[in-house]
Every structure is written in structure tokens, then in C-alpha cells.
């Protein structure tokens, strides 16, 4: 069983590497055939037009695409994504400026979504089809249908502009450096309250819906009836039998969700001025910073693959029949 598991993971890793290779190759060519170029940001009345051509040459963009691609592959083997045109730093260094925040933000968001999704679904499931259950269902549907930017702007209006208790933008206060360690942690937390709420309200509804429906389905299974008839306590039925069986689909959703969040939460990052991967990627796309676009896409691809793999492994740990599915 253990050998099978290791082999499945290895096969999945090989296929993932191939997917990543095709992803960045496809992106490499797509970026170069798409209109525009990185030199366009040098259009200015204060700059000489010939500077644009010189900049193109300095980025080796005047060379045939296949020559650029072979140089790119050689560098990639050495783990070098090149130098960002915008930031004039190695792509990996630029990404490392933004990645820590994105990791924290995504993890916090997923935890909040899971916790509140669980809580609401348990409240619902305690009295299925009761008034509370129907209210929570309708309320979460309403939350799900609110676009992120509307929620963000509304929360800023209420909590920043009107009540004035939470900051509207940024990750820290202007006097952050003067605070002690505990103060700095609190400062980060206070700045993340509105962004986390904005990002999570849709997710909580999704998690709630998945979990509530699964729990309902499991509770209605004959084996639960059998356990009840055998005198097993309701608490034990829920914790030992219902929840483990209801978790599988949720793990898949969490894997996908976490992967996407780690790639960046663009709208939330822009509204709240947060330094995340989403903003970095979109700015790189708009300014045609080719090496940075490829680097960000690679990292996003890695996250999506890794989180999905982790979800599959976790599912297989719970249900051994699923080991075969890991190899993809």
C-alpha cells in the first residue's frame, strides 16, 4: 500500500512538472505574439523616441523568438527566470517581496472561510429545514451574490469613512515602525480585518453550502440510523462518523480555493492597497514585463498543483481507496 502511494505521488509530480513546462512555454510565445511591448512605457515627451528601440535591444527582444526561447530555457534550467523589466531585479527577488504577504493572506482567508462555513453549517444541520436553517441558507446566498468590489467599497464606506474604526487601505499604519512588537502585530491584524471579510464572504457561503449538503446527505444514510438505533450518542455519531464522511468533497474545494488565493486576490488587493501577487501579476501583464509574467504564472501554477496534490493526498489518507486517483 505504501509503495503504491509513493509511486502515485511520483507520477503526479512528473505530470505536474510537464504541465508547468508547457504552461510557461505557451506563455512565453503568447506574450511575444500579443500586441504591445515593454518599451511602450518609454513613450514620453521628455524621452527620445529612439530610446524605445534601444530598450528593446537591451531586453534582447530584437532577436528571433526562438533564440530568445532557447536562452530562456538555458536560464530556467539554472533556476533563473531572468530580470524583471520594471523592477530591474531578478524575477524571483521581486516575487519574494510579494509572496510572504500572499501566503499569510491566503491562509488566513481559507481558515476563516472554513471556520465560519463549518459553524454555519452545524447551526443549520442541527435543525434541518427549520427557520434558522432557511435563514442561513438565504443569507449565505445573498453573501455569495455580492461582488467582491461592492463588498469592499461598502465595508470601507461604513467602517472607515462613517464609523472610522478600521483603516481603508494598506497593510500598516504610518507610525508602524514606532510600535512595539505586539503593537505591530495588532496593527497588521487591524489592517487585515476588512480585506479578509471582503475576500471571505463569498467563500464562507460556498463552504457552508458544500458542508451543509454533505452533512445532510450523510445524516440521512442508513448507517447513521443504524448507529442511532444501537444507542451511539449523537455527539459520537457526528464527530466520528458524519464529519469524516462529509469532509472529502470539502478538501477538494479547499485545495482549489487555496491554490487560487495563493495566486493572488486581485480585486481585494487593489481596493485595499495590499502588496499581493494578484496586483504584481496584473501590473506585469499591463506593462508587458514578460519575465515577471512568466515567473508569476509559474508560481501560481506551482501553488495550484501543490495544493491540489495535498488535497488528494489528504483525501487518500482518510479513504485509502482514493490512492489511485493521486497519480492523476
Amino acid at each position: 500500500m505504501r509503495e503504491n502511494f509513493g509511486r502515485a505521488v511520483l507520477l503526479r509530480l512528473i505530470s505536474s512538472l510537464l504541465i508547468l513546462f508547457f504552461l510557461i512555454t505557451f506563455l512565453f510565445f503568447l506574450l511575444r505574439i500579443s500586441p504591445g511591448g515593454p518599451e511602450q512605457k518609454f513613450i514620453s515627451p521628455q524621452l527620445k523616441p529612439e530610446l524605445m528601440q534601444k530598450v528593446r535591444e537591451s531586453f534582447n527582444l530584437d532577436k528571433p523568438v526562438i533564440v530568445q526561447y532557447s536562452a530562456f530555457l538555458v536560464n530556467l534550467i539554472k533556476g533563473d527566470f531572468g530580470v524583471s523589466y520594471n523592477y530591474r531585479k531578478p524575477v524571483i527577488d521581486v516575487i519574494m517581496d510579494y509572496l510572504p504577504f500572499t501566503l499569510c493572506f491566503a491562509l488566513i482567508a481559507v481558515i476563516v472561510q472554513l471556520v465560519f462555513g463549518f459553524l454555519l453549517s452545524f447551526i443549520s444541520i442541527r435543525k434541518i429545514n427549520s427557520g434558522t436553517d432557511r435563514f442561513i441558507s438565504k443569507f449565505t446566498l445573498l453573501l455569495f451574490s455580492i461582488p467582491t468590489f461592492v463588498a469592499g467599497v461598502f465595508l470601507i464606506y461604513v467602517f472607515s469613512e462613517k464609523i472610522g474604526v478600521l483603516p481603508s487601505s494598506g497593510l500598516k499604519s504610518i507610525n508602524h515602525s514606532e510600535m512595539n512588537f505586539a503593537g505591530q502585530i495588532l496593527d497588521y491584524i487591524i489592517h487585515l480585518v476588512l480585506p479578509v471579510i471582503t475576500l471571505c464572504i463569498g467563500g464562507i457561503a460556498v463552504y457552508y453550502r458544500y458542508l451543509r449538503d454533505n452533512l445532510e446527505e450523510i445524516y440521512n444514510k442508513p448507517f447513521v440510523l443504524h448507529l442511532r438505533a444501537s444507542g451511539v450518542s449523537e455527539k459520537e455519531i457526528t464527530l466520528k462518523h458524519v464529519i469524516p464522511n462529509a469532509l472529502n468533497p470539502l478538501i477538494t474545494v479547499t485545495g482549489i480555493d487555496l491554490g487560487l488565493l495563493l495566486s493572488g486576490a486581485l480585486i481585494t488587493e487593489v481596493i485595499f492597497g495590499l502588496p499581493g501577487m494578484g496586483r504584481l501579476t496584473v501590473t506585469a501583464i499591463f506593462t508587458r514585463d514578460y519575465p515577471l509574467v512568466v515567473g508569476c504564472s509559474f508560481i501560481a501554477g506551482v501553488f495550484i498543483i501543490v495544493t491540489n496534490l495535498a488535497a488528494d493526498i489528504l483525501k487518500a489518507k482518510i479513504d485509502k481507496r482514493l490512492i489511485k486517483g493521486i497519480s492523476g
Binding site: 514620453s44 481603508s168 494598506g170 487593489v270 485595499f272 504584481l280
Partner: protein, 552 residues
């Protein structure tokens, strides 16, 4: 129940605690400036954007500082790192006496060697600096790299002479570059300069030095007590806070969390005006919007490189008709709330001496437009409401870049106005980079765009007929007389003659109306009233902010 109340109380008190943590910027020696995006470089060699330029200007001084004379509508020049400068009689050389009390932030003294080195590195083609290609008046090699031995004579450590190529008519702008520390940069290979560490840890000579750069969050500068520009009232700390969302910037300005922000939308100006603590400063703009008409046929140009007049816009009469047909005033009043003024040509009204006062914008006059189109042979022969000529209907695509509400509004007004005189317009929105790509390859018949006029005025890059060397002549305008005027302007004639040439240029352009000039847009800045001695002019907002002071 009591426990619940306890938790609610804890929650509310923590909220108040948190809110008290958010200090507003209202401290006596500290201001916060809101900007939309982070800068990419604080090395003046690569300070391409406006914000990068503003921050670099505070870190790296040049020999000369420029001001703006509103009455004369021209730039004034005063000494900065230079104590004085003297031009030779034939302006072929200038002798500069430098201040001897300027130190880099690492304590090393600034000397004439730094000046020579700065010109050398700025002109080095390997570096591709922002002034690349701008040193033709110096002695340069074939790659336009300055030949230092020929161009500079170091007379003492604080005195140097700059020699220019004969008959090139240099002026103060040719010697105005930020000065870089030779002792730091000479340790770095030129090819490595763009990615060197110095780009993030500057050794500077300005009134402010870098205190911190929190990526995509803020850049903090602190006043340098060792600078000769330091004075008792100088603002001790300036933070540039990155706030990408425009509405968040406004909210923070109103709440006093930031003290200044630029690029205020005209529709927000009235509400800001009513705020107790905020001052609105509109400055006559250097940016004009225009409806571009390709004077040549794009298909023939791109396929066979032939210059054949455009079937719609090749005739000056038609272009004039279009300018008569467009109600520019409506856009100015309705969308820009009169924060701008109608445009006659590409010379901004801020240049009071250069602008031609005899010219008036084409008034909104659909009847005159119809008459001119009729004279040009465009008639509605089949009574379908659209004009025709040689079996071609007057119908074209008008391209605008996406994400710009002003252009959407202008395009809709133009479409309706032109429909009124029998011209069919299809508005096409395009992603900005794709839009620019098509402009450069002259693929459009018509578009709406804007352009900034450089200070000092540079018209050649957009109106000269050598399309290969002036790729920004998107409208493919070609006129030998205009070329000759632009060549003469480059020879730096005497002031009176120079302004005469500008006026002639505008007259010709007005007669031929190669594009429809729409309006100049005011730059609106809003700042907290506690900032005093602030001088906002067409050169910028933040420059010279070492002169700003704060009310007690």
C-alpha cells in the same frame, strides 16, 4: 447572556483601541503624500515615471533648479549645486562654479569629478538612461556617448568648463542633469548598473535621504541635516504612501490620513472644496486631448509604404469641417466641469509668449461643417443620411483605449455630432498596449488620444515629417514649411525670433488642422491646509518641497 455582553464589550473596546492606533498624519513634522502606484526605481538614471522623477529630484540635485514664471509663461533658472555659471560669448562653452559645501550621504564631498562622471554615465549607451540620445550638443562618439576629455575641462575640484560642439546653440537645459556619486558608481560595471544594489540603497546629495522603502506600501524620506538646503522649518519626514484605489485616496485625504494627492477628477473637486481642511489647486495643464485623423492612407502605407492621402482625412477642408462639427465646449463643460480650456493647437496656453493670441478654436458650427464637406465633394447622393464621394460612404472606426471614461464620453459626443452632419462613426475600444501598437504602425484612420507638451517646448517629435525618426507623428502630418520652422527652432534663435517661429507654426497647423485639437486638461491637486509655502506650477507639485512648511 452576561457572557455575550462581555464579549461584545471586548469587541467594541478593541475596535476603539485599534482605531486609536491609526494615527492620522497630523504630526508637526511629518506629511504623507498619496500616490497610485509604487515606483520602480529611485535611481535618476531610470526615473522614467512622474513619481519616480519627483522622488529622485529630492534625493539627487542637479546644478540648476528651475522655477516657473506665470506672467512670462516661461521657465526661470537659479543656481542649485552650482554657485554660478558663465557662458562664453558664442555659447560654445560654459564655466561652472560649484558649491564646495555639498556632501553625499556617506560623507564624501561632491566635486566637479562627480559632474563629469554623471554626464558620462547618463550618455553611456550601455546604461540606456532616461536622457539617452539627448547629448548631441556635446562632443560624442558614434554611439552618442560623451567624449569626456573633449567636452569637459576640470579647472579646480569645484570649477569646470563644458565645451559644446560648434554651432549647436546649447542652453541651461543641456547642463541640467541629476548629479551622481562617482565614488559609488565607478565600482559597478556599466552593464550591471540597471540591476545594481545602489538602485535601492541610494547615496544621495539632496535635502532628503531615503529612510525606508516598503514595497508597494510606502517610501519614506527624511530631511538630511547635512544638506545645504536644510533649514529650521523644513518638513522632517515625507512619506509617499501607495494607495492604488482612487476613492481610498480621497477618503484618506478627507480624514487627514494623507496630506496631498494629485490627479483629482474634476467631478470630485466641488466636494473637496467644501472640506474645511483641504485646498484645491488646479494648474493649467500641459496635457491636451485630440481627435486624431490619419492624413495618409494606412493600408497603402503599411502594405507598400506609399504616402497616399487618406480618403477621408487627406483634405484640410474635411479636417476643418470635422473640427467645426465637434462640440468641444460641451465635453469641457459637462465632463471636465470647466477644469480645462479649449485647445487651438499643440502649444499650451501656459507658454504665454509662445502661444499665438490671434488664433481661436474652431467654433461649434455644423452648418459651416456641412458647407466645407460639400465643397470637398462629400454629398448625400442616395439620401440615406450618410455622405458619399466616389461611391465611398463617409463611415469610419474611431479607436479609443479602454478604461478611460473621459475618452468614452468624448467619443460618444463626437459620434453624435458627426452623425448630425452625415458622417457615420463606429467607436472601437482597445486595450491600451494594443492601441499604442496600432498607433505606432499607423493602422488607424481615426482615434482619440492625448499628449503632454514637454518643457522646454519640443514640437519636432510629433509634427516633423521624417516619420522614421519621429515615430510619434501618428497623424502622418507632413508640411515642408513646418519642417523648416521646426529646424530653425532647434537652432535656438534669439527670443523674439523664437516666439515668432512658434506662432507661425501654430498658424499653419491651425489652417491645416491635421487633427482636431479638443481641450487642455487642468492638473488638479488637493492638499491639507496645514502645508504652507507650497508652489504648484506646470513643472510639478512635489519638486522644491524642501521649501514647504507646516502650520503649528
Amino acid at each position: 447572556m452576561k457572557v455575550k455582553h462581555f464579549y461584545i464589550l471586548i469587541f467594541l473596546s478593541s475596535m476603539f483601541f485599534f482605531s486609536s492606533c491609526q494615527k492620522s498624519s497630523n504630526t508637526s513634522d511629518f506629511i504623507v503624500i498619496g500616490i497610485a502606484q509604487d515606483v520602480e526605481s529611485i535611481n535618476p538614471l531610470f526615473a522614467f515615471s512622474v513619481d519616480e522623477g519627483s522622488i529622485c529630484d529630492l534625493l539627487y540635485l542637479g546644478m540648476i533648479q528651475h522655477g516657473w514664471d506665470d506672467e512670462k509663461g516661461e521657465i526661470t533658472s537659479q543656481p542649485l549645486l552650482a554657485r554660478e555659471w558663465t557662458w562664453s560669448r558664442d555659447t560654445s562653452s560654459v564655466t561652472i562654479n560649484l558649491r564646495d559645501d555639498v556632501k553625499w550621504t556617506d560623507g564624501v564631498k561632491l566635486t566637479a569629478e562627480d559632474v563629469v562622471y554623471s554626464f558620462d554615465i547618463f550618455s553611456d549607451p550601455v546604461v540606456n538612461s532616461k536622457f539617452s540620445g539627448s547629448f548631441q550638443k556635446f562632443y560624442t562618439d558614434s554611439s552618442e556617448h560623451i567624449i569626456a576629455d573633449k567636452s569637459f575641462e576640470m579647472l579646480t575640484p569645484y570649477k569646470l568648463k563644458i565645451n559644446f560642439r560648434p554651432h549647436t546653440h546649447p542652453n541651461v537645459f543641456n547642463i541640467d542633469i541629476p548629479i551622481l556619486p562617482k565614488h559609488i558608481f565607478e565600482k559597478i560595471q556599466r552593464k550591471d548598473v540597471p540591476t545594481a544594489d545602489i538602485n535601492f540603497k541610494p547615496v544621495s546629495n539632496g535635502p532628503y535621504k531615503l529612510a525606508g522603502w516598503d514595497k508597494n506600501q510606502s517610501i519614506t524620506l527624511i530631511a538630511d541635516p547635512g544638506s545645504f538646503l536644510y533649514h529650521k522649518g523644513i518638513i522632517g519626514k515625507i512619506m509617499f504612501r501607495i494607495i492604488p484605489d482612487y476613492n481610498s485616496r480621497l477618503t484618506q485625504l478627507k480624514k487627514g490620513e494623507i496630506d496631498l494627492t494629485e490627479l483629482i477628477k474634476p467631478e470630485d473637486a466641488p466636494s473637496l472644496k467644501n472640506s474645511e481642511n483641504i485646498v484645491i489647486v488646479p494648474v493649467k495643464g500641459r496635457e491636451y486631448e485630440y481627435a486624431g485623423w490619419n492624413n495618409i492612407d494606412p493600408e497603402n502605407f503599411n502594405k507598400q509604404h506609399k504616402f497616399i492621402p487618406n480618403k477621408f482625412f487627406g483634405s484640410a477642408k474635411v479636417r476643418q469641417a470635422l473640427s467645426y462639427a465637434i462640440n468641444k465646449k460641451e465635453i469641457l463643460e459637462e465632463y471636465l466641469h470647466n477644469y480645462g480650456q479649449l485647445s487651438v493647437g499643440p502649444v499650451s496656453p501656459i507658454f504665454t509668449k509662445a502661444v499665438n493670441p490671434d488664433l481661436q478654436p474652431y467654433p461649434y458650427n455644423p452648418d459651416k461643417a456641412r458647407q466645407l464637406l460639400n465643397e470637398a465633394g462629400w454629398k448625400d447622393t442616395d439620401n440615406d443620411g450618410i455622405l458619399e464621394k466616389n461611391r465611398t460612404e463617409f463611415s469610419f472606426d474611431l479607436y479609443i483605449p479602454g478604461g478611460n471614461p473621459l475618452r468614452n464620453y468624448s467619443a460618444t459626443v463626437i459620434k453624435n455630432n458627426l452623425k448630425n452632419i452625415g458622417i457615420s462613426v463606429n467607436i472601437q475600444t482597445m486595450e491600451l498596449n494594443t492601441f499604442l501598437d496600432n498607433l505606432f504602425s499607423k493602422k488607424f484612420d481615426a482615434w482619440i488620444a492625448s499628449w503632454y507638451i514637454a518643457i522646454p517646448i519640443d514640437l519636432k517629435m510629433m509634427w516633423y515629417s521624417d516619420f522614421k525618426n519621429t515615430p510619434l507623428n501618428f497623424q502622418s502630418y507632413s508640411n515642408a514649411q513646418v519642417d523648416s520652422i521646426l529646424d530653425n527652432i532647434e537652432k535656438s534663435p534669439r527670443e523674439k525670433e523664437l516666439y515668432q517661429l512658434y506662432k507661425q507654426f501654430q498658424q499653419i497647423l491651425h489652417n491645416e488642422e491635421p487633427v482636431t485639437f479638443l481641450y487642455w486638461i487642468d492638473d488638479i491637486t488637493a492638499h491639507n491646509k496645514r502645508i504652507t509655502k507650497i508652489d504648484i506650477n506646470p513643472l510639478g507639485v512635489i519638486h522644491h518641497c524642501w521649501n514647504w512648511e507646516l502650520k503649528d
